[in-house]
């Protein structure tokens, strides 16, 4: 190519670029509201397309009512979110709204000063519209750091068909020994009793946590937090590991469960590869989206069991383990971020999301239209619960929480004794407090 033709083409290219720029700029200028003065960056973890679409619709509605504000939805996968958040919050471009499980992780964020105190921007009538347990879960040291959105409970989901095949009557599974008996029956019938996502570890820590709640109740956990006695190395937590080991010794899980992630497990349960999965109530939607057919287990074939009681346990049978999730606002976020959350989490929206079966709402009265029988049962459990324990792995902070996950998984893998497991949790806790 000679210089001349090159130059000529260069001119043509420049003209083309200039023309398209003008076009783009022109089209951007024409419709008024696209020009954004404030951008609210909203980081979420929602994998379910119908939920994400519904949220995007709310963001659009807010933008329409508030010219000059743009809601920018950003997405991160669950595990990636947990790993990246610390760096993200201290970068020059942090998200404005972030997802939270409350508990120790949120408390560390408060202590680090990366969150914005929103107490002053929330009036009492708004606060009072929430269930107080949910509202207070995002309160720390007398200040409100976030707005809760949903509450969840962990329990045994079961596949009615497979339970029947194993000759197990789910309604009769009341105690830990009943559960062990059911597992034996299912195994004898050639049915995989329980599906678990062991590679992510936290699905297995539910067992250890819930057993500790049944054995020691609220008192045992509070004592451990306060460092009374042997803390997390006390009898309650050792016994929790021992009971869990009784279950593990029956080899109740699907083959290869230690290599399966939580989403893998959702899909396997949805595909009917096992009779039960011990999971939060979100499994109802996750087993559908995760299954090979995309449909999962039909509603009339799906049941939900509360965690069984243990003989001599000090915990109430009504005590629940689960999560309270919501949204926090970061330090430098504009007022519009908080304003948007107040627009987003309202009785109407919560009622609509509950009616669509997305989750169990936290605004009072929002569960009225909930059709799904499983969610209705969980909501009733939560209403009856006097002690709702947040997930240990979130409650105990990022480090100790993960140690609980580790030891629970190691008990399931048979590589640690229940006594050492409890001791490791206590050691990690003592190192930080």
């Amino acid at each position: 190519m000679t210089n001349r033709t090159f130059r000529r083409r260069g001119v043509a290219a420049a003209a083309f670029v200039a023309a398209t720029t003008a076009l783009v700029a022109g089209s951007a200028l024409l419709p008024g509201p696209a020009r954004a003065d404030t951008t609210v960056k909203w980081l979420h973890l929602e994998q379910n397309p119908s939920i994400a679409t519904y949220w995007a619709g709310i963001a659009k509605a807010y933008e329409a009512q508030h010219p000059g504000v743009k809601i920018e939805m950003q997405y991160l996968e669950n595990e990636a979110y947990k790993a990246k958040l610390t760096t993200l919050l201290q970068s020059n471009d942090p998200p404005d709204i972030i997802y939270t499980w409350g508990g120790g992780v949120m408390q560390e964020q408060v202590k680090a000063g990366v969150l914005r105190d929103m107490t002053g921007m929330l009036d009492k009538s708004y606060a009072d519209s929430f269930s107080s347990a949910a509202w207070n879960a995002l309160n720390y040291e007398g200040k409100q750091w976030g707005i809760p959105m949903l509450v969840s409970q962990v329990g045994f989901f079961y596949n009615k068909e497979l339970m029947a095949k194993g000759g197990v009557d789910p309604a009769a599974v009341k105690t830990w020994d009943d559960l062990l008996g059911a597992v034996k029956k299912l195994k004898a019938a050639g049915v995989t009793p329980i599906i678990a996502g062991g590679a992510d570890k936290w699905p297995l820590h539910f067992y250890w946590s819930y057993l500790a709640i049944r054995l020691g109740g609220k008192q045992a956990f509070d004592d451990a937090l306060a460092g009374k006695g042997d803390g997390f190395a006390s009898d309650t937590f050792v016994k929790a590991g021992e009971l869990f080991k009784q279950l593990v010794d029956l080899e109740p899980f699907q083959p290869g469960f230690l290599g399966a992630t939580a989403p893998d497990a959702y899909g396997q349960f949805g595909d009917g590869k096992g009779a039960m999965e011990f999971m939060g109530n979100w499994l109802y939607t996750s087993q559908k989206t995760g299954s090979a057919s995309g449909k999962g287990i039909a509603d009339d074939n799906l049941g939900f069991l509360s965690f069984p009681t243990v003989p001599g346990g000090k915990g109430e049978p009504t005590d629940t383990l689960g999560g309270i999730n919501g949204w926090l606002v970061t330090k430098k976020a504009p007022d519009a971020a908080i304003d948007f959350l107040k627009f987003f989490i309202t009785l109407d929206h919560e009622r609509e999301m509950a009616a669509q079966g997305f989750f169990i709402p936290v605004v009072k009265g929002a569960d009225a239209d909930m059709k799904n029988p499983i969610f209705r049962a969980v909501a009733a459990n939560l209403a009856a619960s006097k002690y709702h324990q947040l997930f240990y792995d979130q409650m105990l902070g990022p480090n100790v929480g993960r140690v609980v996950n580790d030891v629970s998984t190691n008990i399931a893998a048979g590589t640690i004794s229940p006594k050492d497991a409890a001791q490791q949790v206590q050691d990690a806790w003592a190192l930080e407090h």
Binding site: M1, T2, N3, K82, A83, T86, T87, L89, Q90, E108, Q109, K111, A112, G113, V114, G198, A199, K201, P255, G256, F257, L258, G259, A260, Q268, K273, P398, N399, R402, T409, N410, A413, T415, E432
Partner: protein, 312 residues
């Protein structure tokens, strides 16, 4: 473009006046070049290499969750915890395993294939390409593919076992087999790279040596033993160096396959650093792991270069 080179050419002979060229290089040459080219490189190296290392060394003496600046000085506690932690021992042993497998399986395999494919025989370039392909593939992608291959439910391993009527294997889900499964992938992924190094080395060997040896009646093994291997020495030593350093830094192939699990059975030093340092917001502890890895790498690199690679 043609007219440009035509303009440049006449200027050239002037520069090549003997004596003047030498002056250029020594007196006026070095200083301006140094002033011009050294600072950017030095600056980049300091900011992105030296400074982070120094920072990490400092953080490793603190208990720090990554927020604000570290203020809780704990002395050597992070290092003591590290030395006592069973998962770190597993990680160290796994790294040694990777190195051992690299040296005992991967490099001999690469060398053997290189001797076969270095000659200009028909189809050699196709095979070279095929064997080199795994190396070109991104590590994460390769890890995900192998996670699927090893899967007992939907994967290749499951189908093969099913074909023979055996129970489905779950290699990555069993603490006793996960590391072996990972090692297989490592050999598969990286032997092509070493094979290419060896092929380049073999092709640089003077053909006349082989011709002379063949006239003297040397066998194929003797050709390999007395010509190829000795003359390939520098390349082999270099490839061992790469293999060891690469093994120590192994991370992105393991994360998609096992994340170091189950029960830390396939942890390497770097995956250990990630799962026990970064994801738990223990930046001080993670830094201690990083510094330990750095010391291991530096000690190895220096002693290796000073001893075995001294003459290369």
């Amino acid at each position: 473009m043609g007219d440009e080179t035509a303009e440049v050419r006449p200027a050239r002979p002037e520069r090549w006046i003997p004596g003047r060229a030498a002056k250029y290089r020594t007196v006026r040459g070095t200083a301006p070049v140094l002033i011009l080219f050294l600072p950017p490189a030095l600056l980049l190296f300091s900011i992105f290499v030296v400074l982070p290392i120094a920072e990490a060394a400092r953080y490793s003496f603190f208990s720090w969750n990554g927020y604000n600046s570290p203020d809780n000085f704990v002395g050597l506690r992070n290092y003591l915890f590290l030395l006592r932690h069973a998962a770190f021992h597993t990680a160290l042993i796994n790294n040694l395993l990777v190195i051992a497998v690299s040296l005992v399986v991967q490099l001999p395999l690469a060398l053997w294939l290189a001797t076969l494919l270095a000659d200009r025989i028909r189809g050699a370039s196709i095979f070279r390409l095929i064997f080199f392909l795994p190396y070109v593939l991104a590590e994460i992608a390769a890890g995900l593919i192998w996670r699927f291959v090893y899967d007992g439910d939907y994967g290749l391993a499951g189908s093969i076992a099913g074909f023979f009527g055996l129970p489905a294997p779950y290699l990555l889900a069993d603490p006793s087999t996960s590391m072996a499964a990972v090692l297989g992938v490592i050999v598969w992924k990286f032997f092509g790279f070493h094979m290419m190094l060896y092929i380049a080395g073999i092709q640089a060997i003077d053909r006349s040596l082989y011709d002379a040896a063949e006239i003297d009646g040397a066998t194929r093994f003797q050709l390999f033993r007395f010509i190829t291997l000795p003359l390939l020495g520098p390349t082999v030593r270099l490839s061992i160096f790469f293999a060891v350093i690469g093994s120590l830094q192994l991370f992105d192939l393991i994360m998609p396959m096992t994340r170091g699990g189950p029960s830390d059975s396939s942890q390497t030093i770097v995956t250990y650093l990630y799962s026990y340092g970064i994801t738990r917001m223990r930046i001080g502890f993670g830094s201690a792991v990083g510094v330990t890895l750095f010391v291991i790498c530096v000690v190895f690199a220096f002693t290796y270069r000073r001893t075995l690679m001294r003459h290369d």
